[in-house]
Amino acid sequence: MAGFLLRRIAGIVATLFITSFLVFGSVHLAPGDPASFLLGGRSASPAAVAAIKEQYHLNDPFLVQYTKWIGGVVTGDFGKSVQFRQDVAGLILARLPTTLWLIGYAALLILVGGLAFGALAALRRGVVDRAVLIGTGVATATPSFVAAIGLISLFSVQLGWFPAFGNGSGFGDRISHLTLPAAALALTFVGLLARVTRTSMLEELGREHVEVARSRGVPGSEVVRRHVLRNALGPITTVTGTIVAGLLVATSIVETAFGLSGVGQLLVSSVTVKDFPVVQAVSLLVVLAFVTANLVVDLVHPLIDPRLSHAKGGTR
């Protein structure tokens, strides 16, 4: 188990190094010159432009620039933001709590909604199943900015139940402010998770051990909980891991739509002004989220299915 964990962590570090290179390279390949954005479109003296280029090492060869940047990153120094003139790490850390709250809230909605609708469709074949399939199809196809507009118009403008703008402070106020953004963020993924849950449960419902449990007088709800849902958790966990990591990217649209100052909104505004130190740092954060989510999923799987146990090298 310890060996497995060490190997995986080494793999994560390698992945981060490779992606850091790709992220850095692609940001520099993109058109546009940060210096001109820095100067706000005003024409500046060649001396001023040269000073800025010097500060951000823009005159160095690509590999030298990368080495300087990555050298800073491993010590926790992501450079200074071009637009805010502040430490990138500080900028992100200040916005991280809002984003994490939003992701946690949305993940909760996705899990509860996805499992409930998926199980409902799997267990009530016929009209209910078809209704859930259509509903989840629509949900999956709805972009989060459309959902955001719809939710704001209904719950904020017409009903006035939830605020449409801002972070909120304190637990209750925060939950109230984050409800609509979390719902907009969750909608697409509820549909996705519901479909995966439905398919996985239908597959398990056809298993012989489910009939065996029924033949032994175990009540239907127990059979579903202990044999169907329990055994269907594998694919559900895998998809949930990917969804939660992907939420970090999806927040950029929702945070912008609801005026939340989080990491997603920071990414959007940084891309617009080509604030490359911030874009690079947030991109690395996204990669870190994905590899971490995958690691957690891989660690959880043996708890779900004992046949995948790492401790015994997966006998049989």
């Binding site: 007088g217 175990v218 127990e222 329990r230 055994n231 046949r307 049989r316």
Partner: protein, 322 residues
């Protein structure tokens, strides 16, 4: 007259749902007495598993059943769901064919063995204690440790023992065994059979033993029913069936068994087995029968008694040679 342990009278099952609508069983009657081992033999698709599962009130989805199926006089087909669960926990248990598919691979052995007992309201601690005794009685070494292990850590033969232990947990009066050795290695088949027959005798349970192996059935059962295309074609004592098969199909099944003490290769029953839905009018076996006459395809044979055997064959009297 005392009531029989299991009495199936004229059981007819058909799938009613949509395009799949077709008959599966036609007028099946059989009974099992207390402490008696009864064999139910036939090729795949003959309806023997459906008959067996019906005794637990487990019918295929969308199936409609007519006739009667009584356990100690109570009709299983008309039972309330709650009474049916009770029946499955305490009165009737089933041993399934493939233990690896029938035991949830993600749950512990102890969980499987105690599941029925806990569903019946027994405390976890008592159920585990009883499970340990049960595992010991089916010959699982270190039963206490086995309770905490997972199915993939056991061989197929050991898992089938676990299944038997689980089936005995509710102290059933009737044990249904649906081809319990078909999925096992030859070497472990004999062990599982001996455990099964020993426990059946010790606990005085009635047993309905479903198999396609006529010789195995003859070895462990008191009486045998032979099924073909959803109907019972012959019923008699195991000895009688083995020595004097009356129905041409039974004789064909016996001739198809390979034998060590014979130079002759076994010859199979010609043709392929049909299901009830495909069966033509008249005798369903007529197309494969060496003794068939034109009248066989016109008239459906009814069961008649010949020397203590129940046989459904029009020509049974003419075919007796001994």
């Amino acid at each position: 007259m005392t009531t029989r342990l299991l009495e199936i009278e004229n059981l007819t099952v058909r799938l009613a749902a949509g395009k799949a609508a077709r008959p599966i069983l036609d007028g099946v009657s059989l009974h099992v007495e207390r402490g008696e081992a009864v064999g139910l033999v036939g090729e795949s698709g003959s309806g023997k598993s459906v008959t067996c599962r019906a005794a637990l009130g487990l019918l295929p989805e969308g199936a409609a059943a007519t006739g009667a199926l009584r356990l100690d006089g109570d009709d299983v087909l008309t039972m309330s769901p709650a009474r049916l669960r009770d029946l499955r926990r305490r009165d009737v248990s089933m041993i399934f064919q493939d233990p690896r598919a029938s035991i949830n691979p993600m749950r512990r052995i102890g969980d499987f063995v105690t599941e029925g007992m806990r569903a019946g309201g027994m405390q976890q601690k008592d159920a585990l204690k009883r499970a340990e005794e049960l595992l010991e009685s089916v010959g699982i070494r270190e039963p206490r440790a086995a309770l905490r292990r997972y199915p993939h850590e056991f061989s197929g033969g050991m898992l089938q023992r676990v299944m038997i232990a689980g089936a005995l947990a509710g102290e059933p009066r009737l044990l249904l065994a649906d081809e319990p050795t078909t999925a096992l290695d030859v070497t472990t088949q004999a062990e599982v059979i001996s455990i099964l027959t020993r426990l059946q005798a010790e606990r005085d349970m009635g047993m309905l033993f479903v198999t396609h192996d006529l010789e195995l059935a003859a070895a462990i059962c008191d009486r045998i029913y032979v099924m073909y295309a959803g109907r019972i074609v012959e019923a008699q004592s195991a000895d009688g069936l083995f020595n004097r098969p009356r129905h041409p199909y039974t004789a064909g099944l016996l001739a198809a068994t390979p034998r060590l003490d014979s130079d002759q290769a076994p010859h199979g029953v010609p043709g392929r087995p049909v299901s009830l839905a495909e069966a033509p009018s008249g005798c369903a076996f007529a197309a494969r029968c060496a003794h068939a006459q034109p009248s066989c395809t016109e008239q459906e044979p009814v069961q008649r008694e010949i020397d203590g055997a129940q046989v459904a064959c029009l020509r049974v009297e003419e075919l007796i040679h001994d």
